[in-house]
Amino acid sequence: MRSYPGLRDAAIAALALIVVLAIPLLHRSPAFEDFIIRLSAMALFATSLNLLVGNTGMVSFGHGMFYGLGAYAFALTMQMTDLSLPAAFVLAVLVTAFAALCVGAICVRLGTDYFAFITLAVQMLFYSIIISWQSLTGGDQGLRGGIPRREIFGFELASQLHLYRFCAIVAVLGLLALRHISASPFGQTLRMIRDNENRASFLGIVLWRARLGAFTIAGAFAGVGGVLAALFVSGAYPELADWPNSGQAIFAVMLGGVDSFLGPVLGAMILLALNDVVTRFTEYHGLVLGLVILAFALGLRRGVLDFLRLAWPGRAR
């Protein structure tokens, strides 16, 4: 019997979307809606990073740069021009993709360790520019003054419910696109490069070109996440492009599992939920978060979904 993985993925995505969209109809909870909005940004961010880390074996420490760039590009476009929201959205993602192409052109030829360092350095350079270019970005205060929330496709983004629906739809579509990319022949190529770059090279694959492609795509999707984050905070802050944010994405990927497509989404969910719950009970949330990370890292020695897949082979995907 033939299986249709593309159709199956689309069906799962549609089902998830329907469930998420239906929840507010049954029960309104601002805290839950906030959580989903933040999760949609974070999930796109982490999953796009996993296209590099898990799929291609490129450990980028500087992925936050593209998240921050997406947010700043979108917020600045909305503040300074009269473009409609979708146009600003597309423009921000294009800017981010182009930046990722340029950064990647410098970085992807370096070996694993150096790749990690140079992406971190480029991100920190970008962060320094945001901080010191006060007239454009507002410096360390962040870009304030709000984003004009224009109506699109009948979504009134000033309303939390509409923002919730918008973010959920964008996130699910984005994840579906990433899933298709990682299951495509191009995604298979990336996995071959991860497992044995010499063999891939012998088969005629131009390594740097494939890696650059992955880096650009990952940057663009991180930019999409950044746009959602900018919509949520109605502005942009330098922290979005700072290294702890890149760290968050890496931990989301590691907690959830690098070898499962939905691992980073689960990881983002765990991380956000932990943050929310722990900050409610104690001001020392770093202590609790650290202990939980230690327990996961030493106890499971891999991400949660990867662990489950090993425990029940052939079941969870």
Partner: protein, 299 residues
């Protein structure tokens, strides 16, 4: 950008001396932290992201010791020794479990340690900034060199760091232990097969690295303030130092640390607000032109 101010500073000897000494202090502290980082990486191939935590704890331990005993020498000694012990514990209890595991797993564990100890420091010493103040022995009039003001403590700090640099390089190049360490950096399995207890060796390397970071923290305490986040800011910089100098190279760490110190010293005058950016530009340039770093071997 304020190149006129930079030019004016370079014209007066007073300003040059002041900025050079402040750059030297930054550079020497960075060297002490980075030397441990690069040693641990060279031998164990582990990027110790928790290294800044040792620096921070060294400073706090020294702060408490001087409060209890009034002796700065004891404070420095206790800071360094406590962190040497902490280095061994950290290696034995946590890091030894993830040798050979994914690099990201090691990173995850280090990050957890950073989070935990930043909060523990807040619980024990409080979240506010602490100032140790200059130890009484050094509360003397500063030297005036060519019109620039140099506190005597700076001389001690630079002297100790320079002494450590000499001891480290001699120890690595001339002693039997140094030879074993260098051999283990190239091929740990072979060193182990030849009858060296590499478990002990790795723990000792972590002890040296932790001790150096603790020493740096204790030496920095009189000239910088203590705060729970201080570990991570120095980690990022010493990380840059090891990358520029070449991972695993002590000499490279010294040169790069002094370079970064000077960029900091003079950058604050020429490029106020963008000194960090300057440092990252240097790092990117080095990585693009010479990925193995100035003194490093290709990985």
């Amino acid at each position: 950008m304020d190149l006129n101010a930079l030019g004016a500073c370079l014209m007066t000897s007073a300003c040059v001396v002041t900025q050079t000494t402040s750059g030297l202090i930054v550079g020497m502290l960075l060297f002490l932290v980075a030397a441990g980082l690069t040693l641990i990486f060279g031998v164990l191939k582990i990027v110790n992201f928790a290294h800044g935590t040792f620096y921070m704890l060294g400073g706090y331990v020294a702060y408490s010791t001087i409060g209890a005993t009034d002796s700065y020498a004891l404070a420095v000694l206790s800071g360094a020794l406590a962190m040497a012990v902490a280095g061994v514990l950290f290696e034995r209890i946590l890091i030894s479990r993830v040798y050979g595991a994914n690099v990201l797993m090691q990173l995850l564990i280090c990050y957890a340690v950073v989070l935990i100890f930043d909060d523990l420091v807040k619980i024990v010493w409080g979240p506010e900034f602490h100032a140790m103040g200059m130890p009484p022995a050094f509360q003397v009039p500063p030297f005036i060199i060519a019109g620039g003001v140099v506190p005597p403590f700076y001389g001690v700090l630079v002297g100790i760091a320079a002494l450590i640099a000499v001891l480290l390089s001699l120890g690595l190049s001339r002693t039997r232990f140094g030879k074993t360490v260098r051999a283990a950096a190239v091929n740990p399995q072979m060193v182990s097969a030849l009858g060296v207890n590499t478990t002990v060796l790795f723990a000792v390397v972590f002890a040296i690295g932790g001790g150096l970071a603790g020493l740096a923290g204790a030496l920095a305490a009189p000239v910088r303030s203590l705060s729970p986040g201080m570990g991570f800011s120095i980690l990022i910089e010493s990380f840059i130092v090891t990358v520029i100098g070449g991972m695993g190279s002590i000499a490279g760490a010294l040169v790069a640390a002094l370079m970064i110190g000077m960029v900091r010293g003079f950058g604050t005058i020429g490029f106020p607000g963008f000194t960090d950016g300057l440092i990252y530009i240097v790092m990117i340039a080095v990585l693009v032109l010479r990925p193995q770093g100035l003194f490093g071997r290709r990985l």
